[in-house]
């Protein structure tokens, strides 16, 4: 095995994993939603592969795993919080009416119309 080539490739993949984990953080902060779920696991997988035959992960890969796990956790918490807020809003008649009015002004359809159409699509 050519050790210098092996080390070069290992460092390359660890760096790639690190960059992808940074993208996961960016997506968590600026595009909270599903994007982080696409990116963070990919970073973890590449980081794990970059271990090669060594007993431990390279430093950059270890950081990538840590950052990705944190990004995933934060993204999940933010999504969960948004979902809870949204369901609370739907349960409150005043806020629901406000949402209906806002959506009607913007799209010409109320939230209830949207939900009804979504229900019809799923049926």
């Amino acid at each position: 095995m050519d050790m210098s080539l092996y080390r070069f490739n290992q460092a390359k993949q660890a760096r790639l994993a690190f960059l992808i984990s940074l993208a996961a953080v960016f997506s968590t902060v600026f595009m909270t939603g599903l994007t982080c779920y696409f990116i963070a696991p990919l970073s973890i997988i590449i980081a794990l592969i970059s271990r090669g035959a060594d007993p431990v992960l390279p430093r950059q890969a270890k950081t990538a795993v840590l950052i990705s796990v944190i990004a995933l956790a934060v993204n999940t918490v933010l999504l969960g919080f948004t979902f809870i807020q949204f369901t609370k809003m739907l349960a409150d008649p005043v806020q629901r009416e406000l949402l209906n009015e806002t959506l009607y002004k913007q799209y010409g359809l109320t939230l209830d119309d949207f939900l009804q159409r979504a229900g019809n699509l799923l049926r």
Binding site: M1, L5, Y6, N9, Q10, Q13, L34, Y37, F38, I39, A40, P41, L42, I44, I45, I46, L48, I49, S50, R51, G52, A53
Partner: protein, 244 residues
Amino acid sequence: MPYKSARELRADARVSMLNHMSLAVGAMLLYMLLVLVITEITSFSLPQNFFAAFLISILVNFLVAIIVGIIHLGLKSVYLEMQVGSQPKLFALFRYFRESQNSAVVISGFFGLLDTLVSIPLLVLLLGAEGSAFSAFSLPMLLAFLFRSLGQFLVRVFFFPAPYLLMDFPNLPPASFLRSSTRLMQGRRKDYILLTLSFIPLHLLGLLSFGIGSFWVMSYQECACAAFYKDMITARQKKRGRQE
């Protein structure tokens, strides 16, 4: 016989992945794309008559399995070449359309036949449920899907080395690949199953990324399978050397 542990095999797989990362993932991506295209081309509206629709489905399933199987043999050869340290090309994926065609068709046909047989319950249910999208998630459908997956897995366990043997010994008669495969796997099935099961957490991670990470995981698993075969053959050669 001193075989490598699953941990060592995974380490070997990671090393070959690191040295050929773009090829390993690219080959898997191209293979999956080809499977998708072939499956789409061969999906058309079936006749109303259940029996005719069933027969056509079985036939199409079998033919698709043969074509996909030949490409899959090429895919396995790419990962084995990576494992033995040679420089494979992406187009090695199509190598069995040019060389050892007879053996490749017989092996793919055999696997295709077994695949079709274990798919029959699922095909019957799918034909019966045509038109209603949500019946695809019913319990019988799930059981049929599990039966098919389990059947395909068992076929892989019993005949795992056949694709690699075709690459190593292209001049052997096709039937002997299957016989030698079962003989080689004696006493090694448990290790192979454990090696495969050790990839479940990574596959779950791949699923979490909506399948994008699965290309890396599947390539990694294929590299580990090639390492498993290489180790199996090396250990046998060492044993034979000692006996002589």
